[in-house]
């Protein structure tokens, strides 16, 4: 089961991890983009933290994700604002007003989030984007849950899938976003969006596993 407390803890952990890795994300983005991914995401998640404080005690998991979305779409500034905004918005919508979310619903919510990102950004696998981390992660999550694994270990499998997906972006030529303007020169660089997506899923696995 996944509770509102866990959802809030996940988002808070994400904010901390993004802050911690902001310089790294910005550096990755400076190589193939406009060099603001880390600062943008950190600014967005600082606003997210403020919005969380304003949520009522009986907020649903969906309400938490909706609040995250609204903060990100206004404050991030770059393309990751509407993209991650769509991720959290679609996830919240998929979960509806359930007070507690079971494992299958959480997995379906994450999948809806990924679909939201795809619908917004129109990117495909191997375009060197967030999707290259999110997609393999959710494939691994679904497979682990289908094998009867507990949520914690299934999310660890998802994290490992995302990590591999990030590494696999290095040899890719970008086909979406500013990095695509560079063409062949975008090769041999790790994608910043895939990297932040991995951090978000790693935060989820850590929180659910009590780490």
């Amino acid at each position: 089961m996944f509770s509102t407390e866990q959802a809030v803890a996940w988002v808070r952990r994400t904010a901390a991890v993004i802050e911690e890795h902001a310089t790294e994300l910005t550096k990755l983005d400076a190589a193939i983009g406009d060099g603001d991914h880390g600062t943008n995401m950190a600014r967005g998640f600082r606003t997210v933290l403020q919005r969380l404080d304003g949520l009522p005690d009986d907020a649903t998991v969906a309400a938490v994700f909706k609040a995250v979305s609204m903060a990100l779409i206004g404050k991030v500034g770059g393309a990751s604002g509407p993209l991650y905004g769509s991720f959290y918005l679609a996830m919240g919508r998929s979960l509806g007003d359930q007070a507690e979310v079971d494992d299958a619903a959480l997995a379906a919510g994450l999948r809806a989030g990924l679909d939201g990102v795809v619908a917004r950004g129109k990117a495909q696998l191997e375009d060197k984007t967030m999707i290259d981390a999110l997609h393999p992660a959710l494939e691994a999550l679904d497979a682990a849950l289908a094998d009867g694994k507990e949520l914690g270990s299934a999310l660890d499998a998802a994290e490992a899938g995302a990590r591999k997906g990030v590494a696999a972006t290095i040899p890719l030529v970008a086909r979406k976003g500013r990095a695509s303007y560079l063409g062949e020169r975008s090769r041999d660089h790790q994608d910043p969006g895939a990297t932040s997506s991995h951090l978000i899923l790693e935060a989820l696995a850590d929180v659910v596993n009590g780490r």
């Binding site: 404050k75 500034g77 770059g78 950004g121 976003g177």
Partner: protein
């Protein structure tokens, strides 16, 4: 009233400057700036764009002019998720260039043209001759 315009740029100053230019040509047209992220930082904000669309649309629709990158994604997010249903049906994102499209679109709007006509005029601004005879 007339079709309204929304100017979306990563820079709040650029958006405000374009509003100033377009307004000079067509005072009676609602031209709204939606530049920068919510705190004024370089970037775009879907929430800011949605508010500008609702303010620009007096019933005849609104044309959204964008600069690049996340401006398009934020504008799409604003239209698909944030504006009221009645606005969604009469708002469009322009293919036209930000500055020229805004000026020419505003002039077209000031004549009482439809959203289609304003949209086409702003698009044509992309191929307008400037320096060559």
């Amino acid at each position: 009233m007339t079709v309204g315009l929304v100017i979306v740029s990563h820079s709040a100053k650029v958006a405000e400057g374009v509003v100033e230019l377009a307004g000079q040509m067509a005072e009676e047209v609602r031209v709204l700036a939606a530049g920068g992220a919510d705190g004024g930082e370089i970037g775009t904000s879907a929430t800011k764009i949605a508010a500008a669309i609702e303010a620009a649309d007096s019933g005849d629709g609104a044309l959204v002019l964008v600069d690049l990158g996340s401006a398009v994604l934020s504008a799409r997010m604003a239209i698909e998720e944030l504006v009221g249903d009645e606005y969604r049906e009469r708002v469009r994102i322009s293919e036209g260039p930000l500055v020229e499209g805004a000026v020419i679109g505003a002039v077209q709007a000031s004549t009482g043209s439809s959203l289609d006509e304003v949209d086409q005029a702003a698009t044509r601004a992309a191929t307008m001759r400037k320096a060559k005879d």
